[in-house]
């Protein structure tokens, strides 16, 4: 019910909708953004503002038929935070680029390889048992630290690290098979 109201208000560009969204989903957005931004509190706050402004701008793209508001907000928060952190990293490491350096953008063949690799990885992740799959999503989608994963799943840090190591080995094995085909 609350979601319907939020969607209706934001689609109608009513500021109250954004207020409601912040009240209701603020903790979720912070939860998604924080591990990506790390310990930098200022960056986290900037990120949340950026996420909210992007939600406000791009909300027309949200289709309730395709998924829940929560899923969409999680994806929006994650992607905005990642973009912002990458942008900051690029800015921080900015140096004068020599003119003879080749462009970083991948060529068509490299793009095809990357896309195939991504599809293979996603397929391999889907084949994992549910508990392992959740750990992979926590680590590589939510970008959570091992300590956070351990705390939230009730594992010790050592156990969480061990589990992630075994999952990585399993995935490497699964992807090796694919690669040899």
């Amino acid at each position: 019910m609350e979601d319907d109201r939020i969607i209706q208000l934001i689609q109608g560009k009513d500021q109250e909708g954004l207020q409601l969204l912040i009240k209701h989903y603020g903790p979720l957005i912070r939860y998604v953004v924080k591990p990506i931004c790390g310990s930098d509190e200022g960056l986290t706050e900037d990120c949340i503002q950026e996420v909210l402004s992007r939600i406000w701008e791009k909300f027309q793209g949200f289709d309730p038929e395709k998924g829940s508001l929560k899923s969409w907000l999680t994806a929006a928060a994650r992607n905005s935070a990642l973009n912002m952190v990458r942008g900051k990293a690029d800015h921080d490491s900015y140096e004068e680029i020599p003119e003879d350096v080749k462009s970083d953008s991948p060529g068509p063949e490299e793009s095809a390889i990357k896309n195939a690799a991504a599809a293979a990885v996603r397929a391999a992740v889907e084949k994992l048992p549910e508990k392992d799959r959740l750990l992979v999503y926590r680590r590589y989608y939510y970008m959570q630290s091992v300590a956070q994963i351990a705390a939230e799943t009730g594992l010790s840090e050592r156990a969480a690290e061990g589990r992630l190591y075994r999952i990585r080995q399993k995935l490497a094995e699964m992807l090796k098979g694919y690669a040899n085909e």
Partner: protein
């Protein structure tokens, strides 16, 4: 393509995984990835188990302990979230310590003064208080989480949990006092249904509490446990199991047996007693004060009805009963021999048992009375434990206990009968034991009295003693006088939880002496 791809996997799988993740995670992942669910669920489940166990079902202490063990795995991760969660964590550990103390009391043979009747009930009250404080702390903790998430601090469902917990606890208390309050079985059935309803409402409140946390729960910050929840729970369960096993196998009762010589009865008196049907073994066992009562008294041996013995296939036991009249004073004397050890697992015997009595007239409880005189002895030969006839004996005196202590069990179903409860030490080392009980009775007001003797063998188990006591009284309420080897002032509840009753009956034809 394959070579470069394989190289890519082995060199930077982490990077690949990060970039290959879909833009939007599947719905089940979104639902499952929360900071709070894995920590709050054990807390709520633990609370639930603790409530179920409380005097409502037989396994109250084990269920309560398991509940707290589960809860502590949740609290451990939330202890740094806010002070109220930390307080809850400390309370949970304290509750667990109390539970473990109660397990020690159950499993070890401890003096009655510190056992279930006193320390046990004090610990029970402490654990209820701890549980109440835990729920209050949970309310405060959740209100703080909501405040942190920028939401209203109303933690309505936490209040409901507290309210239904208090209601259920009060109902459990009344349920525990059902005998004292004289609640009949039909009303008790309705009451149990009401308790189940209160429990369902508590369950509902807990469920709503979970739902209420759905969004503010993301504001929680957890800390990694030093050891995993499973390992912690496993360790605590193992500790409880070790306590139980240690108590079961190594805890022993201090026995009170003392070496004594046969009493020297003057030959003339011994012959008179023998003529009245008393055996040499009985005469040699009599205490001086009992001999003084029997001296000059009219003694009549009674026939023993062994039909119950045959029906119940009990331990081999020989019982002889006498009615004794000396002037206006009346007594019953019951002598018994049995050939089997008591088989108390984990103990080497019982220490002093107790005796008590009560009278109920015309269906109205008049009060608890001890007989004017009650005496007895139990003996075996420590040098030749399989032999009954010996010059040297190890004896234990009858111990008389304050009957008020035993009143809850004795009240049950006595009708207008009179009951005497008494006991001795019993030892595992002897195969043959013999003893007698001499008890004053009121001048008989009817044609005959029955004397029945019940022997209780204890074996470890999880049957609650109170239920068994009721069953026991149900089975034997028809007898007018009971003499039974029963509890002790040193006992382990584990031993008393499951026991077998052996019953023998004799009829006293009062008219023959009037």
């Amino acid at each position: 393509m394959s070579d470069s791809f394989e190289l890519n996997i082995s060199s930077s799988l982490d990077g690949l995984l990060s970039t290959a993740m879909p833009a939007e995670a599947p719905a089940e992942v979104i639902k499952a990835v929360t900071p709070w669910k894995k920590a709050i669920k054990p807390i709520l489940l633990g609370l639930l188990l603790s409530v179920i166990g409380m005097e409502f079902l037989p396994f109250d202490i084990p269920v309560n302990s398991v509940g707290l063990i589960i809860a502590v795995t949740g609290y451990e991760r939330l202890r740094k979230e806010n002070k109220a969660f930390r307080a809850g964590w400390i309370l949970c550990l304290a509750g667990l310590a109390v539970c473990f103390l109660r397990i020690v009391l159950i499993c070890f043979a401890v003096p009655l003064e510190v056992s279930r009747l006193k320390a046990g009930s004090v610990l029970g009250v402490i654990s209820v208080v701890i549980m109440l404080l835990m729920i209050i702390c949970l309310y405060i903790a959740l209100a703080k989480v909501k405040k942190k998430a920028g939401m209203s601090i109303n933690a309505g469902n936490a209040w409901r949990v507290l309210m239904w917990y208090v209601v259920l606890r009060a109902m459990c208390l009344i349920f525990g006092l059902r005998d004292t309050l004289n609640i009949n079985i039909r009303h008790m059935f309705v009451y149990i249904v009401l308790m189940l309803c209160a429990f369902a409402l508590l369950l509902h409140a807990l469920f709503r509490l979970m739902k209420e946390l759905e969004e503010p729960g993301y504001a929680m910050e957890l800390c990694a446990p030093k050891i995993s929840g499973k390992a912690l729970a496993g360790t605590l369960v193992a500790v409880a199991a070790v306590i139980f096993a240690a108590g079961h196998f190594f805890s022993t009762y201090p026995t009170k047996w003392e070496q004594t010589n046969k009493s020297s009865v003057p030959p003339q008196e011994a012959s008179r007693l023998a003529e009245s049907g008393m055996s040499e073994e009985l005469i040699s066992l009599l205490k001086d004060e009992d001999l003084a009562i029997l001296n000059g008294a009219e003694i009549r041996a009674m026939e023993t009805d062994s039909s119950r013995e045959a029906a119940e296939k009990n331990i081999p036991l020989d019982m002889r009963s006498f009615i004794v009249r000396k002037g206006s004073d009346w007594y019953t004397l019951v002598y018994f021999e049995f050939e089997e050890g008591t088989e108390f697992c984990g103990t080497n015997g019982l220490a002093r048992d107790w005796a008590g009595g009560m009278r109920v007239g015309d269906g109205t409880i008049e009060g608890h009375l001890l007989p004017d005189y009650i005496s007895g002895r139990m003996a075996y030969d420590p040098a030749r434990p399989a032999d009954l006839v010996s010059p040297d004996l190890a004896v234990d005196e009858l111990f008389v206990m304050d009957p008020n202590e035993s009143s809850p069990y004795m009240k049950y179903h006595l009708g207008d009968n009179f009951a005497v409860f008494e006991g001795f030490s019993v030892t595992e080392t002897a195969n043959k034991l013999r003893g007698y009980v001499l008890t004053a009775i009121d001048p008989p007001s009817r044609e005959e009295y029955s004397v029945s003797m019940s022997f209780i063998k204890c074996k470890p188990g999880f049957k609650p003693v109170s239920v068994s006591a009721k069953e026991f009284m149900d089975s034997y309420y028809k007898a007018n006088i009971y003499a039974l080897i029963y509890q002790t002032d040193y006992y382990s509840t584990a031993d008393l939880m499951c026991f077998t009753v052996y019953n023998y009956k004799a009829t006293l034809p009062v008219n023959e002496l009037e």
